[in-house]
Amino acid sequence: MKTSTFLLTLTTALMMLCSCSQHLVRVKPYERGNLANPLMADDTDTLQKPMSEHVYFSREGSYGGGGVGGGGCGCN
């Protein structure tokens, strides 16, 4: 087997696998009941979050960047 043929096959295989990667390990929107549970939110304790942020801020100056857009349920 020539190296070029091998590389071509490998590239094709990788491209094919990449195209279907989004279907492999994903929690489907209808399976996100546990993720949508309010207990899964990172700000369930109103006191804990500002305290943690204060610790991060005063220790490392690494304030911010901790938020994410939207919740986990994937609604809309």
């Binding site: 096959t9 295989a13 009941g33 349920c73 609604c75």
Partner: protein, 162 residues
């Protein structure tokens, strides 16, 4: 070397074939009674059907129910059938939601996720609007209040007129 190539090709082909497919506009609506065994599905032959996937934990799903009730009250007599499929894994939560909302249209429970697995709804809620010939015409992802309701109404009117 040949063996490695053969294994790679086989893996690729098996993964490609196992990829989750989902119905698209233009496809025929599958038999819901087969996907939801035991559920009482209303007759849909010759009707415009709105199949909605919802869950009790999904905020936009809750917001969509008053809209579906209005649509049902307005167009059920003209040939619209709304079927709301709940995908809650916890049957207690499903029953509590159904009891609370008391919808005039049928609500069924997809306990085994057979229907959800087939439709593979891209978001929660997702709905499929089907014409009188049983062909899926429109697919809605999510619910955005009055904007989505106006769109539903426009599409339903167009499908009822055919």
């Amino acid at each position: 070397m040949k063996t490695i190539l053969l294994i790679t090709a086989l893996l690729c082909s098996s993964m490609m074939t196992s990829m989750a497919k989902q119905p698209s506009a233009g496809q025929k609506l599958p038999s819901l009674s087969q996907l939801l065994p035991g559920a009482s599905i209303p007759k849909t032959k010759g009707k415009v059907v709105l199949v909605d996937f919802w869950a009790s934990w999904c905020g936009p799903c809750k917001a969509s129910f008053p809209c579906f009730t209005r649509l049902h009250n307005k167009y059920a007599s003209k040939g619209l059938v709304i079927i709301a499929i709940g995908v809650d894994t916890d049957i207690k939560k499903y029953k509590a939601f159904v009891a609370k909302h008391k919808s005039p249209f049928p609500m069924v429970h997809d306990s085994s996720h057979k229907a959800a697995g087939f439709f593979n709804p891209p978001a929660m809620p997702s709905s499929y609007l089907v014409d009188r010939n049983g062909v899926i015409r429109y697919i809605h992802k999510g619910f955005k209040g009055a904007k989505t309701e106006a769109l539903y109404e426009k599409e339903i009117l167009a499908l009822l007129a055919k």
